[in-house]
């Protein structure tokens, strides 16, 4: 009798424990009432950008009854790692931010992203343009929808330039160096750099490479898989020489790029640094870091200076293309409808206003009102060619090694030759 009672109690406890463990792992996200749910991951964790996505989701739901969009902001530097884990776990977001290039190609190779070639709204093909769409093409198929073009260049504070007696922005590297010296004499940092995150420091190398290497060389390198062309070494040497003029803010190595008032964008936003080399999303980031959370009125922009003897064509630009892709398990009809929706003129105008950046859809360019962005837009439309960021173009493994080697150079721990060596090793490792 006693034995029976104990047995029943133990079995009950075991069952409860089992149910509890099962319950913890249960997937509570299920379609109910015939509604389709789309999950969206983006990297806008602050201000207007975050609000834009919330409004866009509501607008899309109105246009598409029966579809619900659930939004998850992901901090920018965490996006790659979290996305990889999510895609592999089988619990991927339906819609996720992507930047094209080698990173997207890896996801394509693993069959974890939807081919949307046949789903692209025909009217968007001309509005966005083949050049921009190609950033999201792998082997001739389209795997993502571009929504922003983000060419890089140097954002600068006109007021600080005036105070330093600089009447026109520099057009050569030597002019940039002398202007930086003049600014430093004011007690202000010349150029803000968030080297802790590595990619901002690496961008300086990318642009020196853009000036030194021809378009054909940069494209051919993706296939050759080595940095053996002499222009890559020269880019490193030019950067090393530039760094020796000490143009960057104190403590650049432990300054983050975009997080808080102490970041490089924060230094520009708070008038503690005059310039920053950054992509066209920067006015939006700076606007969220000013004391009053409004765009910096004195912000302007100039193209990366030219390099003497360089083989890059004058006026060439480099930047990123931000867009969104659908994971392979996403409901194709609803997901591609969302991608087409966000690329429409009206949504793109809203995007350009909220993010203070350039829309991928040319028909929405009129929404660009920020003077510094208008300068970028003019230069962008006139550019002979626009290259993709090298760490996107060459993929994550090579990109990471390249970025890391540039940080070593900045810290005076590496040499221009080490950059070439690190990249070649990364390509060999695969």
């Amino acid at each position: 009798m006693k034995r029976k009672k104990y047995t029943a109690a133990m079995l009950g406890l075991l069952a409860s424990t089992t149910l509890l463990l099962t319950g913890c792992g249960a997937n509570t996200d299920t379609n109910t009432g015939g509604k389709t749910t789309l999950t969206l991951w983006h990297n806008s964790t602050t201000g207007e950008g975050k609000e834009y996505w919330e409004k866009t989701a509501i607008d899309f739901e109105k246009d598409n009854p029966g579809t619900v969009v659930k939004i998850q902001p992901i901090q920018n530097e965490d996006m790659d790692g979290k996305l990889q884990t999510a895609l592999n776990s089988g619990d991927a977001p339906d819609i996720f931010m992507a930047r094209g290039g080698g990173k997207l190609a890896d996801i394509v190779e693993a069959d974890q992203v939807l081919d949307i070639t046949d789903s692209l709204d025909p009217s968007l093909e001309g509005a966005i343009g083949q050049g921009v769409l190609s950033a999201f093409e792998v082997d001739g198929k389209l795997y993502g929808m571009p929504i922003a073009v983000l060419p890089g260049g140097i954002f600068y504070n006109k007021d600080i330039f005036t105070e330093a007696g600089i009447e026109t922005p520099p057009t050569t590297v030597s002019e940039l160096e002398s202007d930086s010296s003049a600014i430093k004499e004011l007690g202000t940092s010349a150029i803000a750099l968030g080297a802790k995150d590595a990619w901002p420091a690496a961008h300086w190398y990318y642009f020196f490479a853009l000036r030194n290497c021809s378009q054909d060389t940069i494209n051919a390198t993706a296939k050759a898989k080595n940095f053996n062309d002499s222009c890559w070494l020269k880019a490193g040497k030019d950067l090393e020489a530039f760094m020796q003029s000490e143009p960057f803010n104190d403590g650049a190595l432990t300054t983050s790029a975009q997080q808080g008032a102490g970041s490089s964008a924060g230094l520009v936003a708070n008038n503690k640094a005059a310039m920053e080399l950054m992509g066209a999303w920067n006015p939006g980031v700076i606007a969220s870091l000013t004391p009053d959370q409004k765009p910096l009125a004195s912000l302007s922009w100039f193209a990366f200076p030219e390099v003497t003897g360089g083989k890059g064509e004058p006026g060439a630009m480099m930047g990123g293309v931000d867009g969104y892709s659908c994971s392979a398990q996403a409901p194709k009809k609803e997901c591609t409808a969302f991608l087409n929706f966000i690329a429409q003129k009206q949504q793109q105008e809203n995007y350009a206003s909220a993010f203070h950046t350039l829309p991928a859809n040319k028909e929405a360019q009129q929404a660009v009102t920020d003077p510094s962005l208008q300068s970028i837009l003019a230069a962008y439309n006139d550019a002979p060619y626009v290259m993709v960021w090298l760490d996107t173009l060459y993929g994550q493994g090579v990109g990471n090694a390249l970025n890391s080697a540039v940080v070593d150079l900045l810290a005076q721990k590496g040499t221009p030759e080490d950059i070439v060596k690190a990249v070649n090793n990364a390509w060999t490792r695969g």
């Binding site: 463990l21 990173k103 069959d111 432990t254 994550q396 990364a426």
Partner: protein, 315 residues
Amino acid sequence: MNTSPLTHALPRPRSSNWRQRLEILVFAAPAVVVFVSFVILPVIMAGYYGFFRWKGYGTPSDFVGLDNYFAIFQDSAFHEALIHNGTILILSLVLQGPLAIVLALLLNQKIRGRAVIRILIFVPYVISEVIVGIGWGLLLQTDGAINDFLDSVGLGALKADWLSDPQIAIWSLMVIISWKYIGFAVILFLAGLQSIPEELFEAAAIDGASYWQIQRNITLPLLGPTLRIWAFLSIIGSLQLFDLVYIIWGQYVSSTAGTSTMATYMVANGRDAGSYGFGSAVAVVIFIISLIIALTYQRFVLRRDLAGALTEGEK
């Protein structure tokens, strides 16, 4: 009559044993499940992934045998990380150990403000590593509060790049680590001190022993087992240090500043490079190094404490 009681007695022990075992099994099951799911299984999977070249998407299919391991041991960045781990390990023992003993002895006496001092020492231990990293990171920036303070009291000449100067960064890290973990050591030692019988001190005092003789011949030997346990935990923690370094320096600048560890090397060259097979191999290497050191320490250092326990048992 004799036969009858024996017959009745037999079922009871068997029933007791059975019930006891079932209880143990049921209560232990959740912990075992968690341990297997979050410790054993990941270790096995890391071992598996370590043999592949894998970018992290889909299932690994590019088997490369021991190539990842060869690459790790040939990489000078890994050598540097290993040296940093070793430096942190030794400095942690040398800096924290003596200081914690002194503080514990001090706090074991009845002094004014003891409670406040205990709190000040112990609170850092319960603060999250991320918060500690952000707070100290801000203080130690070149334009941070510490350099500002030095300027304001006329000691501007002492200002330094506390974080990215390779000559200084490792020491900045040790100050932060010591501040963070000293409290744990002090609490352990206080507990150890309180388990030493008061009679021993009284007897020694009666026999005319000085304060230092008492500490050297009674306190420290009897505190030995606690010291050795603390040292073990400190060693393992040093080998697997990640949070503070990652938050303050990040995985790139930690390498140039001389504070990278095997764990930050793993993140920088695994996850951030999209080389998950390689990263898994690094994880296995860290595991094996920690295991070897742990087993060696247990075999040659902790063993005497167990022997002592057995001796006590025999008496």
